[in-house]
Each structure stands twice: as structure tokens, then as C-alpha cells.
Chain length 418, copies 2
């Protein structure tokens, strides 16, 4: 798609936004139901398209241009198809996060201010390999009332296109729903164009490798919801229980070593009595322990841990705030005061006490769906659920009041929360 | 200050952040009280420094390098001094926005998740001319638990330095308060250096001209809280009351024509019966009415209005979403359905019904203090109070739980809000 074409697509999506803003939840759920059914009815079409992508991918693997891991993410099977469809039904069941009154205040008689949630607007989604992302993100966008412009990895072009067409067909059957609010773009140049459209696109959500996320963060003025790296820490305090520390660290590292919420660095208080036993335990569990590595701000994404003995809690906090990525950090201690100090002073989206870092996840938190995990400090932070795709606006209802009367003291505000 | 020096300052401020995160409200209020008293006791020193700046400013006016308006903003008098001191006492009275539990959820027995407010971290403030901004912003930062790095306009260097030294002296007297958390930098190069320190500075708040705000927005990856322009609209619907429309538009334009929440464009439904009378009324009240100007996305900052007759509500909404700045827009109508549609579909931080756009203001909203007005859609939006300087973190309290037990089905989440 040429730069001009993507601008046209984005402009049309922007016009569709306003219509999305006040759609009944029922209409949105009807669209979602149509999408789920249409995917169900067209499974074979999707598998056929996926087969083409897999054949191309095989060639690329032979040429050394694609990894087996990417091939795995690209491949759709019955399980993934079932999860894709179930995912849409799950989103239908979630509360509509838009048009909720957060609070209301009477500024004066007949002058009422309401803070009300509303969709963010137009969201750009840039993803790699996994074609099941389309239906997932599109459902979340539809339910929260946002328009989307999707750009998938070229290795999944055929599958993405098939799923997209099935979604658009389903969307077209609900007349009240703005057809232009869901869009897919194809060519690699479209990423660059998307990143430059900060006048129209309100938020970018990248789904892919650290490299992709970092590239996007460095090449756009649009706010990016996500995290480039997850350098999580566990600090073992003096009073930590021996078995609890071992079990939590093992789970945090080995339960899914490539996950962003896996632990990368263990800091241990010098007075902890079981330091050597802990190291032995970790090694016995297949974890490579690197003591005092040169580089602490590194994500191993493997069964490897950086390990450092620290003098005290303050040193641990300083280490984490210096080398961490603000994702998730945990203290293991029986001392409640130390736990409180750690959890307040460590500047991360998740601060845990006596529990595996792997719990940092939207589904485990009970959000029903996860848009992503954010290490931003001024956007939604931590695991982001459907709520994270909404912002708020202020609605002020009056009867003709003017400011001049309040400036001159003819009238006075009384500011009563209602 | 050299680039190296500013980096040192910022790094020290970052270390101070952690200490700020769990300070008692009492300590923060003690510091604020000290600052208020110390300014009171050193008024003459501040006036003397301001005199020097005013003398330099006079020369710059002669050389055509400074406007009379800037001179006015630069000049401190007894009223501004009193407001400055009173402003600090007002912040002392405000609720501490940090460490508030937004909600708590039991994920499973003995596994409790809390969403808790916390300071954003290190905030960079870049301001022009008005030296009274230092004490105002510093008080808000201290109360919300944020570290600050301030950069004022060079025309106010002497005054800024005097106020800053008085603040630092007051801060130094409260031992528990991290001395390095309040910082002022001087040279013009410091702005450029600040804008590059996205690794350390979490938020930039500009206070000054549209030119300054636009420059900052275009030259940093740090989130910017603010608005470059305020292009506010009033749409006069078919059923609008004659007098109400006249009075609201007059107030919205003339009550303070250079304010960001003043109206710039009036859209009138073609079936509104009093179009000509409205134009005559506005002209009689000293407002220049420009019908169908070439450029609608323009802030006049004067008693000038763009004026356009539209076919219907939809055209008005489309016009506003295309040419507006997402600040504040108002509909005047007796039709509740039209009001609801307008307020939901117009994509602005403030959407008003039958009330002057000038009400869009933190003090009028009852926020107690205003950090600024934001047209961002992923940061704090609209008038931003003390709350807007806080974000949240997730605290998870466990007893040694690991994720593997939940993945294997040995344990199950029950997700009970508590």
C-alpha cells in the first residue's frame, strides 16, 4: 500500500471513530459473535492460507532467513484455532469498559461535571509471525470501541489476509457498525508510514520481539504501549525461608524461561544463611548461575541467572532501580517492614512479596484479557486489560452558566461530589 | 551546566526518587510549610533579584528582544508574592494522592493483589518568564512525591535562582526529606540535554508559549503533559435558546480571549432561527466575526471568531474532530439526544452542554490545584490536578505460591474483589 493509500485508510478510520464512540454494547457484541461464527465456518480457508505461508516459511528456513521458533508461532493447528474462537467468546463476556461514569460532581446548582471513560480512538497494532493476534486484538478493539489499523509480519501474509477478510465479512453484516474501523495493511513500508502518522494514530501496540518493540519506540512520536525487555529481579532477604526462596526462584526462572516476567537476576542479602545451598539447588535444577556478571541489564531468556550478594535491602533496591526494566520485581522475606519498604521504593509496575514473578499477567490478575504488559509510567502500566484501551473525558452539563459570574463573585462554586 | 553536569544532577535525582516514594504525608507537609515560611521571610531578597531581571528586561525591550507582555509576567509584586505563598498553603491542605489503594483482589487464598497509586518519578519542568511557577510546581511535586528538575527562562534567571535557593534552604532543614529531589538548571543547552534524557526523566511539563510546547513535543521521546494549542468550538444547534447562545459565546470569547479554553470557532445549524441576530450581537460586543475563513485550525487568542453555518449535527461533529485540538468543545441545544450524541462523539478532553468553554479549568472543576491542561489521550487528560502526577503499581502479596501449580491445575484462581 502506498504512503498515500495508508493515509486514506487512516483518515477513513478516524472518521469511523466517532461512530464507534457511542455504539451500544449489544451492537459490539453482535459483531463479535458474527466474527467468531464466521471464523468457525471458514476454518478450512484459514488453514489453506496458513499452509501457503508454511510452505514459504520452509523455504526461508532452508535459506536461513527464518527460525524454527518463528515457524512454530506461524503454524495454526486445531488447538490454536479453537483458542482463537474461544478468545472472541471470552471478550463478548467481558464488561464494556467505555461510557462508565468514574465520578460526578456538582460544581454549582445545575452545573454537573462527570468524568466518563471513552475509547482512546485509533490504535495501530504491529505484530510478527503469530496470525492469531489479529482476531484477539480486533476483538479487544471492537469491545472497547477503538478503531484499529493492523500490520502483520510478511511471513504470515496469506493467513493474515484470510482471517482479515473473514472478519470484514462478519463486520459488514452489522449495519450500525462502522465498516472502516477495522483495517489491515500489508507492505513493510506501511510500518514506517504508520509510525509517522502521529496526527491520526493515538496509540501503537507492538506484539513481537524486543527488536521490533525497540525499533518502534525509537521511530515514532505516537505513544507505544509495551515493553522492550523484562529484566525481573528477586531479592532474597536475610529472613527469607530456605525452601520458599528455592521454590519461587525455580518457578520464576524455569516455568517459562523466555517469558518477559521470568526472573533474570537474583540478589541475596549477605547475611542470608543458605546462600551456598541456594546456588547448589538452582544448579541441580538445570539453572546456570552467573555470579557478578559484567552486565546486569541483560535478559537471558534462558535457564541462566545473574547472581549477586548485596550488603542490605537498600543496596538491592538501588540495584533494581538502576538495572531493572520496571517490569516485575520480588522480595522474599519474613520481615513485613522490609517487604513494605521494597514494594514502595522499587519503581516497577509489579512489586511482589513471597511469590513467583510469573504471576505478573493479565489473566492471572483476573483481567479476563490482556492487551499487553506495559512498563510505561504515563500510560496504562503493568498487565493491561480491556480498561487500558480506554481513557476518559470530562462532560459538563449546564443551563447557560458563564464564567464571568464566578470571576465577579456573583455566583460561587460549591463542588459537591454526587 | 554542561551536559555531563546535568546528567549527574538527573542521576542523583533518580536515586532520591526511591526515598520520596514512601515518605509520610506529614514530612512532605513539613517541608512545604518550611518553604512557605522561608519565602515569606525572604521576600525582600526575591524582590531584589527580580529588580535585576526587570532592569535587564527593560534593556531587552529597548533592543526589541522582549515584549511588554513578557515583562508583565516576569514582574513580581506584592499580590503575586502573596499568591505564591498562599498557593503553598493550599497544596498542604490537599489530599496526598500517593499510596492510595485503588482496588484489591484476592487471586487465591493468601494471594492478594492491590492496585496502588504511586508517584510518576522524575518530572522535568520547562517554563518561561513567570518565576512564580517554581514554587507552585515544586509544591505540587513534593506533595505528590515526585522529584523535579526545573529549567526557567533566562530572562528570570536572578529571580529563579533566589527562589530556588530559598526553597533548597527550607528543604535542607527536614532531614528525612531527600535533598537531591528538587533541582534547578540554568543554561539554554540544558533544555536540549533534558529532552534527551528519556532514560531518566519520566515526564516533561512545559509551561509557556505554544512555540515552546511545540518545540518540546517535537524534540523529545519523553511524554509531554500539555497542549500546544486550544482550538475550542461552540456548536449552536437548531433548538438553542437565543439569549443563552449569545451569552455563552460572548463569555467563551471575551472573558479572557488569550486563554486556551476560549472559543475560536462557532458552528451554527442552518435551521437556527437567530443566525443574523447572533452575528450582530457578537459584533456589538466587540468581537470580530470571520465567516468561512480559509484556515479553521487556528487559535486567534484575540476577540476574533471563525464562523460557519453547517447543515446538521453530524457535520459539526466531523468539523470539530477534524480541525479541533481535542481541548474543550460545547453544544448549545435544548435537544437532549443531540447533546448526548455530541458529547459522546466529539473526541475532546472536555465536552460541554449549554455552558461556557471557560469552565474547563482545574480550579473550577474543584481539583484544588492545576498542573496544566492536557490534550493527550494516553496520559492524564483535561485539566490535571495533583492526581495527574501519580501513576499506579501492582503489589502482589503471597505466601510462597508458584505459577507451575496453577498451570498444572493443582491450584485454581478464584479472583474475588475484596
Amino acid at each position: 500500500m502506498s504512503e498515500n493509500n495508508i493515509l486514506q485508510t487512516v483518515k477513513k478510520a478516524c472518521l469511523a471513530k466517532a461512530e464507534l464512540f457511542n455504539l451500544d454494547t449489544k451492537i459490539k457484541n453482535d459483531v463479535l459473535l458474527n466474527i467468531a461464527k464466521n471464523i468457525e465456518n471458514n476454518k478450512e480457508k484459514i488453514f489453506a492460507a496458513n499452509k501457503k505461508d508454511l510452505e514459504n516459511a520452509e523455504k526461508m528456513i532452508e535459506e536461513g532467513k527464518l527460525t524454527r521458533a518463528t515457524f512454530g508461532r506461524l503454524k495454526l493447528d486445531d488447538n490454536k484455532m479453537r483458542d482463537m474462537i474461544q478468545g472472541i467468546y471470552d471478550v463478548i463476556k467481558l464488561d464494556d469498559p467505555s461510557n462508565k461514569v468514574l465520578w460526578a460532581r456538582e460544581l454549582d446548582e445545575n452545573l454537573v461535571l462527570k468524568k466518563v471513560t471513552c475509547p482512546i480512538g485509533l490504535i495501530g497494532i504491529i505484530f510478527e509471525a503469530r496470525p492469531d493476534v489479529i482476531s484477539q486484538i480486533t476483538s479487544l478493539a471492537i469491545k472497547s470501541g477503538n478503531a484499529v489499523i493492523l500490520k502483520g509480519g510478511k511471513e504470515a501474509d496469506n493467513t493474515n489476509k484470510a482471517i482479515y477478510e473473514i472478519i470484514k465479512e462478519a463486520v459488514s453484516k452489522v449495519e450500525e457498525f462502522p465498516y472502516d474501523s477495522v483495517n489491515l495493511v500489508f507492505s513493510h513500508e506501511d510500518i514506517k508510514s504508520m509510525l509517522e502518522l502521529d496526527e491520526y494514530i493515538d496509540l501503537i501496540i507492538p506484539r513481537g520481539s524486543n527488536k521490533l518493540v525497540t525499533y518502534i519506540q525509537q521511530n515514532t512520536k505516537i505513544p507505544v504501549l509495551g515493553h522492550a525487555s523484562g529484566i525481573c529481579h528477586i531479592y532474597v532477604d536475610e529472613s527469607a525461608k530456605k525452601e520458599m526462596a528455592q521454590t519461587i526462584i525455580k518457578d520464576s526462572k524455569t516455568q517459562y524461561p523466555t517469558a518477559c516476567n521470568s526472573v533474570e537476576t537474583v540478589l541475596v542479602n549477605k547475611n542470608y544463611p543458605y546462600i551456598d545451598e541456594l546456588k547448589t539447588y538452582l544448579k541441580d535444577n538445570g539453572i546456570k548461575v552467573i555470579e557478578n556478571p559484567e552486565k546486569f541489564d541483560y535478559e537471558y531468556s534462558d535457564k541462566i541467572l545473574a547472581f549477586k550478594v548485596v550488603n542490605n535491602l537498600d543496596e538491592a533496591i538501588k540495584h533494581i532501580n538502576t538495572f531493572g526494566s520496571g517490569h516485575t520485581d520480588c522480595i522474599i522475606t519474613e520481615n513485613e517492614d522490609n517487604a513494605e519498604k521494597f514494594m514502595t521504593r522499587v519503581d516497577s509496575s509489579g512489586v511482589f512479596h513471597n511469590v513467583s514473578t510469573r504471576f505478573s499477567d493479565g489473566f492471572r490478575y483476573g483481567f479476563g484479557a490482556e492487551v499487553g504488559i506495559s512498563t510505561n509510567k504515563t500510560l496504562a502500566r503493568g498487565p493491561v486489560g480491556l480498561d487500558g484501551l480506554c481513557v476518559y473525558k470530562y462532560k459538563l452539563f449546564g443551563k447557560g452558566q458563564i464564567v464571568d459570574d464566578y470571576v465577579k463573585g456573583i455566583k460561587k462554586f460549591h463542588h459537591k461530589d454526587i
